[in-house]
């Protein structure tokens, strides 16, 4: 990429600025209650916007039917596990093992 340096600099500055802004001695601006409320939905929204296509749309890339996709089956399993188990690591490990097994089976 031609503008890689610019891209790297820009991205580094944006991510660092978002993390540092409220660590300034002088508060740059006040986050109102409404802004805080809106921002509290950012993490669940952005993470969901990333995992949903992997679980529900990956079947398009692997030439498998929707219901037989390992992504869908193992993804639904990890949703169920997340409701039952407390340990994040356990959820992730079990789901990945099931996913690998399914991939080997097909």
């Amino acid at each position: 990429m031609d503008n890689f340096g610019l891209m790297l600099l820009g991205m580094s500055c944006i991510t660092f600025a978002c993390r540092f802004l409220f660590f300034c001695k002088k508060r740059p601006f006040e986050l109102g209650e409404k802004t805080k409320l809106a921002l509290s939905y950012t993490a669940p929204s952005v993470l969901t916007a990333m995992w949903v296509p992997i679980v529900f749309l990956s079947y398009q890339h692997i030439e498998q039917s929707f219901f037989e996709s390992p992504f869908l089956i193992a993804g639904l399993l990890s949703i169920i596990l997340s409701l039952k188990l407390k340990s994040t690591l356990l959820i992730v490990v079990i789901s990945i093992m099931v996913f690998i097994t399914l991939q080997l089976l097909y």
Partner: protein, 243 residues
């Protein structure tokens, strides 16, 4: 006085070591889960045409997994730079909230401490530091930064593995590494749904990202995130009536 000083210094040292050890233990499972993601990031960077050094620099300097992955899919597209910057901002904007939450514990610290706290601030570091604060009733910069550094090192080693593997293993991106990301995010998001409005924001974001992706609209991630945030915000008034 002379007798006490070394003793108290030793005690502080031991206490510090214990805090650092605790941080390591707490962040480790989350850092393990990020390894496949780092590998994917490294190999994908090579695939879209970055050099090995450029790919590693991204993880070293930007240090934001979701923003990095999103930008890699945008590289090469028309008007890439502005889309990359805007998606980086939308994805990173959740860190504004984290930094606002930590503000009261950090604002009196030295510039160096504040810079370190900011640089190593991630979803995972925020999560374990909040748990530590709740448990011990006091905030520890040492704990937060130690957890952040461990996470940083593992993230960069994973990226490096991805860069190397991406050059030697063809089609590494077809191995399904991204499933590890999905599983991690599911394990973070689902237990965090404690309010009706959070459930609505997750559903809105999930449904809209599918619709947008299938119809082939650009910036599906950003638009879906904004729809999710707006839905959560607008349904927040329903939370109280639903208990």
């Amino acid at each position: 006085m002379l007798d006490i000083t070394p003793v108290s210094k030793n005690t502080t040292n031991t206490a510090n070591k214990r805090i650092m050890y605790q941080a390591f233990i707490d962040i480790l499972p989350l850092a393990m889960a990020v390894i496949p993601w780092g590998i994917l990031c490294g190999s994908l960077a090579i695939k879209v045409g970055l050099s090995a050094v450029q790919a590693q620099l991204m993880s070293l300097l930007v240090f934001a997994g979701s923003a990095q992955l999103a930008s890699l899919t945008l590289i090469g597209a028309v008007g890439a730079l502005s889309s990359i910057f805007s998606s980086t901002f939308v994805i990173s904007s959740r860190h504004l909230l984290y930094s606002a939450v930590f503000r009261e514990h950090v604002r009196e610290s030295s510039m160096l401490t504040r810079c370190c706290m900011a640089f190593f601030l991630t979803d995972e570091m925020f999560a374990v530091s909040c748990a530590y604060l709740e448990k011990n009733k006091s905030f520890s910069h040492l704990y937060a930064i130690s957890a952040g550094v461990v996470f940083y090192l593992i993230w960069n080693v994973a990226t490096f593995i991805g860069i190397v593997a991406g050059q030697f293993i063809p089609n590494i991106e077809n191995l399904g590494l991204e499933f590890a990301i999905a599983a991690t995010f599911i394990a973070i998001v689902i237990p965090s749904i404690k309010r009706f409005s959070t459930l609505m924001s997750v559903l809105a974001s999930g449904i809209s990202v599918c619709v947008l992706s299938i119809t082939g609209i650009d910036h599906a991630l950003i638009i879906a995130t904004c729809i999710g945030m707006a839905t959560g915000f607008l349904t927040a008034s329903k939370d109280k009536s639903n208990g």
